[in-house]
């Protein structure tokens, strides 16, 4: 098999979303490396916008303001917040309550209509840690494509999406011993991994069906879905959860 010419690749990484966010772009004849390096900024900027909407740790974010407000109050939220919360509500229903961004505080104690978020229950607290990173990656990819970038990827600490002709080798981090394991390759799709071992950061660690596996990875058409579905699989212990097929996704326990 003859090896095709390797495309030029530029990569940049920054700490964002509490993790390392990497942007990779494949070279094009029309752009030099300097222009490609500058184009990476589009992705970082898009992610920063989502972070400002969704971070629990930023008092000015929609989510922090929702968590601080009283029952019966409402809040006009940014478009990104409305998109993620609408998706979270659909996933809550479709997963029979398994996917819960209130982390058990009040699964239906909130509702988003148009771009207005209502607090229905005093205990409702939202944490979009299980879906927000995926949406941020989708937004970053959207920003890159919208500016005419043909191929590349965005990886937010393991929630990643590739687009165009970019084929990304996937390696899984060995969380216990360090190092990485070859997994497969990703073309024009998204991939995410979550940990559900005892002591893991995932709040969905209280799974009933945890066997010898401690990680779940999901491939899906969007990173929001890949991210969220890892939580559904982790919490249900079901790598063949019916939601996966409906989302054109696939899961692996490892």
């Amino acid at each position: 098999m003859s090896a095709p010419a390797s495309p030029r690749v530029v990569r940049r990484a920054r700490p964002l979303l509490g993790t390392l966010v990497e942007v990779g772009l494949l070279g094009e004849a029309a752009r030099d490396d300097g222009a490609l390096l500058a184009a990476c900024e589009l992705a970082f900027d898009a992610i920063a916008v989502v972070q400002r909407c969704l971070s629990r740790f930023d008092d000015a974010s929609d989510i922090a303001r929702f968590n601080a407000m009283a029952a019966g109050a409402w809040l006009d939220v940014q478009p990104d917040t409305a998109i993620v919360l609408s998706a979270a509500r659909r996933l809550l229903i479709d997963s029979d309550g398994v996917f819960d961004v209130s982390l058990g505080s009040a699964p239906t104690g909130w509702i988003v209509r148009e771009q207005r978020l209502h607090k229905l229950h005093a205990d409702a607290r939202l944490d979009l840690g299980g879906i927000g990173k995926g949406h941020a990656v989708d937004r970053a990819v959207q920003a890159l494509r919208g500016s005419g970038l043909a191929a590349g990827w965005v990886n937010a600490g393991g929630d990643l999406r590739s687009f165009g002709a970019a084929v990304v080798e996937l390696k899984l981090r060995d969380e216990q011993r360090g190092g990485v394991v070859d997994f497969g390759r990703l073309h024009d799709g998204a991939f995410a991994t979550s940990c559900f071992a005892a002591g893991a950061r995932s709040r969905l660690s209280a799974s009933q069906n945890v066997s010898t596996h401690s990680h779940v990875s999901v491939a899906a058409p969007s990173c929001l879905l890949a991210d969220a579905l890892t939580k559904v699989v982790a919490a249900s212990g079901d790598a063949a959860h019916p939601l996966l097929a409906r989302a054109n996704a696939r899961a692996w326990l490892h």
Binding site: V168, L170, K171, R173, G178, G179, F183, C195, A200, R250
Partner: protein, 187 residues
């Protein structure tokens, strides 16, 4: 490199399942320190290298401000345009459980962080990351031109990659620059 056989085929083309192969190391070089400095201060016409050396009393002031200074000597690139200072760039590295991250922080003359760029990321096989010998092999890498990644565009997926140690490092650098300017060490 494989191409998708058919654009209308499944969107996600993952071809292998989890392989229980032995783990391997992983490394990416993103930018050299010079490239990062230019990205952070594109208006600069030159960068001047300075060494800031704090005395014991100054180190105590840093510590009192809640920053563990780690070192008394810091290398700072001063970004200049027509002789006027635009800001500063400091390169540092931090180790996590299994990863070594080199990064550069750009600080404006107002003392605020302007930009953070990761220069390189190295995932170790395991505990050797704690060994000075393992870390030494990367010393001085920042200044050289990084390896340009060609066909090996691998990406890691994992669950627990936190950047809290980078965040701490950035805080330390901001304090170091602040004190260096206060004591006149940066001109």
């Amino acid at each position: 490199m494989d191409r998708a056989a058919d654009a209308s085929s499944l969107v996600v083309t993952l071809v292998t399942a989890v392989a229980l192969a032995p783990t391997s190391a992983f490394a990416v070089d993103y930018l050299s320190a010079d490239e990062a400095a230019k990205l952070m201060f594109p208006q600069a016409d030159r960068f001047e290298a300075r060494t800031v050396a704090f005395d014991a009393e100054q180190l105590q002031r840093l510590q009192a401000a809640g920053v563990l200074p780690r070192s008394a000597r810091w290398q700072v690139r001063v970004a200049l345009r027509d002789g006027a200072t635009l800001g500063y760039v400091v390169v540092d590295d931090v180790i996590g459980k299994f990863e070594l991250i080199s990064y550069a922080v750009g600080v404006g003359v107002d003392g605020a962080v302007r930009q953070i760029e990761v220069l390189s990321y190295r995932e170790s096989h395991g505990a050797e990351i704690r060994l000075p010998a393992w870390r030494r092999q990367f010393v001085g890498k920042d200044a050289s031109a990084p390896l340009r990644v060609g066909d090996d565009i691998a990406n890691i997926s994992g669950a627990t990659l936190s950047c809290s140690h980078v965040t701490e490092g950035v805080r330390r650098i901001v304090a170091v620059i602040g004190l260096a300017r206060q004591v006149g060490a940066l001109g």
